[in-house]
Amino acid sequence: MKHDQPELIDALAAEYVLGTLQGAARRRFERWRAESWHIDRRVETWDGRLIALAMGLTPLAPAPAVWQGIEEKIRLLEASRPAVERIRRPRVALRALAAALVLCAIVGGGFVAWRMTESLSLQPVATIKGAQGPVVWSIELDVRHQRLRAVALAGAVARPGHSFELWALPGGNAAPVSLGILPDAGQLERTLSQRQWSALAQAGKVAVSLEPLGGSPTGAPTGPVLYVAEHKKNA
């Protein structure tokens, strides 16, 4: 794609939105769109420009079965991903277990102390959300095992061919350091390298960018930064 030809890009975006860009050209343009935030914006612009043409068409009430179909599809979708509730349940169970262990501790047991240490080793890192939207991810750190846990809470879905990537922002002139890909749903855990661990320890903030599938190919953010959040150690 010749990214230095804005008029060509704009013309293709217009024909894509119009629907007259077809076949292999349409598929190729969709790939370029997935790779370039700039092209995506041009498509959005043309969508916004032309959509008024479709606003005046006579509305047609859908059959009742349509809503039933939507509910069923969403039910299957939710069932196929680790739902938030299912992620939270183990936490509730852990708390109950901790309480039980504390009770047992009255009788005495080193095991209790071990469990408590486990629980205390989990520290919040960041709550990632838009200016007005819900929390999208909760980031936690298992200090004891130097592992990062990212929990998807609001069903963020990257565009096809893209991934969300988390970055530590050490501040000053230091470059962002990747902390890995974020999940669209459910949770991901990974052990941090020493470099990642140090960068996160120094970071005042973390950020999320949209990257090609699998993460930035350069080691630095290449896509738009979608979210920035305070590192909770500063809170």
Binding site: Q22, L53, L60, I70, L77
Partner: protein, 187 residues
């Protein structure tokens, strides 16, 4: 359904999209009640077959449920964002092999855009006023080509068949029409 107060209507749609991002199923139902009929009107026009359009409409609402967190609020374009998802889905289905089974038989049976297709500028928000003004600056052929493509989902070849003009002429109408629109909208 066009709303008497576009700004309030858009604010309500925006609020509901935000609630969908928080996994509020009732909000999705409310969104459906507000806009599904308008979406289906647009999608049937493109897909020609109601059953095909209703199936695609289901995918649209599943997509809204999944993508609600990505909507950038505060830009006053909730209706446009929702309608674009519906329209793109209809175009995707139309261009798929499955829809090809239907299209050839149907394309000559669909009425040309009538007065209703001239755009509902009021319900489309502020940017629509600019489009209305710029649309009037196009030639009749350019307007017709763009409307047939956007509203009916016609390809260049479909438009050539309907109008009886050569394919190259149709491509030129549309290309020049879009370029004129862009120049007009950016000044």
């Amino acid at each position: 359904m066009p709303h008497s107060d576009p700004q309030n209507a858009d604010a309500e749609l925006e609020r509901l999209i935000g609630a969908c991002a928080a996994h509020d199923r009732q909000a999705l139902r409310s969104l459906y009640d507000l806009i599904a009929a308008q979406m289906l009107g647009c999608m049937v026009r493109i897909l020609k077959r109601r059953a095909l359009a209703e199936e695609a409409l289901q995918d649209v609402f599943v997509s809204i449920w999944q993508r609600a967190a990505q909507f950038e609020s505060g830009r006053g374009r909730a209706r446009g964002w929702l309608m674009s998802i519906a329209r793109h889905r209809a175009i995707d289905v139309l261009r798929s092999e499955r829809a090809d089974l239907y299209r050839e038989a149907d394309v000559n049976q669909v009425p040309e855009p009538a007065a209703e297709a001239a755009g509902d500028w009021a319900s489309a928000g502020r940017s629509a006023a600019a489009l209305a003004r710029c649309f009037q600056e196009l030639t009749g052929e350019q307007r017709r080509g763009i409307e047939l493509a956007f509203i009916n989902g016609y390809s260049h070849a479909d438009i050539a068949r309907v109008t009886g003009e050569p394919l190259g002429t149709i491509k030129s109408w549309i290309r020049r029409g879009l370029a004129s629109l862009r120049r007009c909208l950016e000044t």
